[in-house]
Amino acid sequence: MSRRDLTIAMVGAGGDGIVTMGDILSQAGARNGLNVIKTEAYGPQIRGGESSCVVRLSPSAIYEQGDAVDVLVVFSWADFGRFKGEVQPAPNAVVLFDEADPVARTREDLGIGADGHWLAVPFSKLAGDAGAKGSKNVVGLGVLTALFGLAEETIRRAVVKRFGRKKAAVGELALKAYEAGLVHGGTLPPMPERGLTFTPGPAKLLMSGNEASALGALHAGCRFFAGYPITPSTEILQFAEEWLPKMGGSVVQTEDELAAIGAVVGASFAGVKSMTATSGPGLSLMTEMLGLASMAEVPCVVVDVQRGGPSTGLPTKSEQSDLWQAVFAGHGDAPRVVIAASDVEDCFHTTVEAFNIAEEFQVPVIVLTDQSIGQRRETLDPTRLVHDVVDRAVPTAEELVEYKRYRDTPDGYSPMSVPGLKGGIYQTNGLEHDEFGRPASMAHVHETMNAKRYRKLKPIRDRYQRARRYGPAKADLGIVCWGSSKGAVKEAVLMAEERGEKVAAFIPQMIFPFPVKAFEEFRASVRQLLVIEISYAAQFYKYLRTFTTLPDNTIIFKRSGGKNLTISEVDDQIRRFFASGSQQKGAA
């Protein structure tokens, strides 16, 4: 039987070209129409330092980075040690390491069993002999190609493209290194059964979640972006800065996050679709302006690429611990909308949706993604990047007669004028105000206007009950999770299905207002619930309890971030549940 997927990990020091190696592997995969997920991890150093890259390739759909890797290439054992617990070879993995490494490790150290392979390879020597001293990574590509029957010609073209882009001679040297790797690979024990069998298909896009978020914004019509660099969201700012001017738009890198969202609210007040992107600490600074946007009813979109917190926390690692901040942070009663993306493609769709909701209902919308999907690269089918776009309604001539910016309408949202519209002049503020926007601090005005602003959530809730549901219509175990946990959960659900276990999953895209009805239907369709999240404080579990009821026997699986949720973690929970016989105990 041919393999369903192949996961290759590469670890080395800065300068070993780990990331380039992963890039070429994943680009070649994408070129041949394979499904690819690539993640990178670094040490805290600005330059140099250890780095690792994991590439998962599969002809069929994949939803998450593979857990234990099938193939591990180590250029430096010392650097490998810095990724303890993050890069884990399977017991039957093929481990390739540089024979010149002064640090020695044994297969027992890594738990490689008899069915695994432990192979010392002269990566450095082969690169040197080929006249391309720094090309261990390309030699590695050659060895991998030979061992696992990867697409030799595609990788060859990818190598030329990557190294020959500046100087043809550099490309030629890299090719020599590649050929040296191929030849050496031919001398190793052949293991074709471990390779992928596939028919090349049409090329796929290879994109990161952050790029997809930015692209979604441009697709939605965003023409003003203001931001302040913060890991792991900075690529969104960089992408906007590169492309918006070519689309006639503008970007300002502001002095801080307060100014970034301030400028976004200003531009949106001026009638231009606008966005900012940040991470947890930046969202904290933006909180005051979310209140203003809520009060003045100005559309705005904020993408929060979550990282480990609190405070500076784990800037380069993922966590799902900004949930409460996104939904609740702020002074006063300030309605907003929170949507969560669950994979790279979803980053595109949720951002467009965020603009659609923001523009139509004149509310701030926060899109929660996280480092794990924001910075990983994934293949996408180009035809899937379509999404309807909603534009802001312009007040009609009738509405401009004695124009009331904050007309108290049945749905709560009122016609919004923009500068340039002659009869639509109004003055607004962060103060409580009457229908004209004039400051008014009377209790009854405050009550009326709070009700008006909150009323907007109802049509949003009704129209955007977005949630994903996987698994059978009736199940013994119902997993509830959100955001990037989707990938591991979906794969674990599929694995359970193969075993004949009835497991379903519910993953809301719309976080606030929470799709209560859809959730309650799900709850009624399963015998027991399992809530899974990457938050020490179990923010999601407690959030669910705020807006709905959970049975007492609900199982919670939660932990701190720093390491992405793995398929095997979810699988363990499922197996444990069925092993305990809980599914026999009847409905909750």
């Binding site: 493209k161 692209l215 400028a263 001026a270 996408l380 180009p382 500068p419 003055q427 962060g430």
Partner: protein, 293 residues
């Protein structure tokens, strides 16, 4: 047959006035600034629907509510970030930011620095009364050392800043100082500030009769005098000579130089980025993510 050209609208100062009654105390210097602003706008015939007045929080930040243009009284210290968004995204809109000394120099000080540095296309009028008025009389960054306020019972232990000195240092390309008790002079300076392309900063000494008493008004009136004729407005060094004054208050244009504004530079970037090509579309960007080899 040629039709008669449509009559141009002629705005008088009163056209820029809303029905909202100012919350300011009787005798507040901000009335002078508001009146001067109406007159300056009329003099320049600013189109109301293509003008936006943005403010932060404070007594003076209530001003947008009183001007018949698009207006936004935002949150404390953030007038300039909001103004940035309007000015950059809508270069066709004339953007006026207004506020007080606490708003602009304390909580919003960082934005002041960077807006000036960027040469943002905004006219920023700071109404300086050397006190926090709306919160009823606390010390401000421009309160003179030794002054007693609600939060400096034993006298202000801190030195004050000179907003004009800061503006010049930060890179503002037009800096002026006015006294709101001098209506004519204030009108003239607002007109000049509004005509300037780029970041124009006008500090208007605007007395607070409630928290700094009649003395402040009297003292300012006694000290105010125009800058000497022949003052070289293109010299930072010359301009600095008229900052941190104690015995006099020199009013007029301290500094005025030409330099590309932020919007000028962003326009250049748009031209450079496109290199003569039509506007890029999203599908074209998507294609760049396809492996091409």
């Amino acid at each position: 047959m040629s039709a008669a050209p449509p009559a141009l609208p002629v705005f008088v100062p009163g056209d820029y006035k809303t029905d909202l009654k100012p919350v300011w105390c009787p005798g507040c210097g901000d009335f002078g600034v508001l009146t001067a602003l109406y007159r300056a706008m009329a003099e320049l015939q600013l189109t109301p629907e293509l003008t936006a007045v943005v403010s932060g929080i404070g007594c003076s930040s209530r001003l947008p509510g009183y001007v018949e243009t698009y207006g936004f009284n935002t949150v404390h210290g953030r007038a300039l970030p909001l103004a940035t968004g309007v000015a950059v995204s809508r270069p066709d809109v004339k953007v006026i930011a207004v506020g007080g000394d606490g708003d602009g120099l304390a909580i919003g000080g960082n934005h002041f620095m960077h807006s000036a540095r960027r040469n943002l296309d905004v006219t920023y009028i700071l109404m300086d009364n050397e006190i926090y008025g709306l919160t009823k009389g606390q010390v401000a960054p421009t309160t003179p050392t030794g002054d007693k306020t609600k939060t400096t019972h034993y006298g202000n232990p801190e030195p004050a800043v000179d907003p004009c000195e800061l503006a010049i240092s930060f890179g503002a390309t037009w800096v002026g100082r006015a006294f709101s008790g001098d209506l004519k002079g204030t009108v003239e300076l607002i007109v000049k500030a509004l005509r300037h392309r780029g970041f124009a900063f006008l500090n208007v000494m605007s007395p607070c009769v409630t928290w700094r008493g009649d003395d402040q008004f009297k003292s300012l009136k006694a000290k105010a005098r125009p800058l000497p004729a022949g003052h070289d407005v293109t010299s930072r060094f010359e301009a600095f000579k008229f900052t941190r004054e104690t015995d006099v208050l020199s009013t007029g244009v301290l500094y005025d130089v030409k330099s590309p504004s932020l919007n000028d530079r962003l326009d250049t970037i748009k031209v450079t980025a496109r290199a003569g090509a039509p506007l890029v579309t999203v599908p074209e960007i998507v294609k760049t993510f396809l492996p091409s080899f």
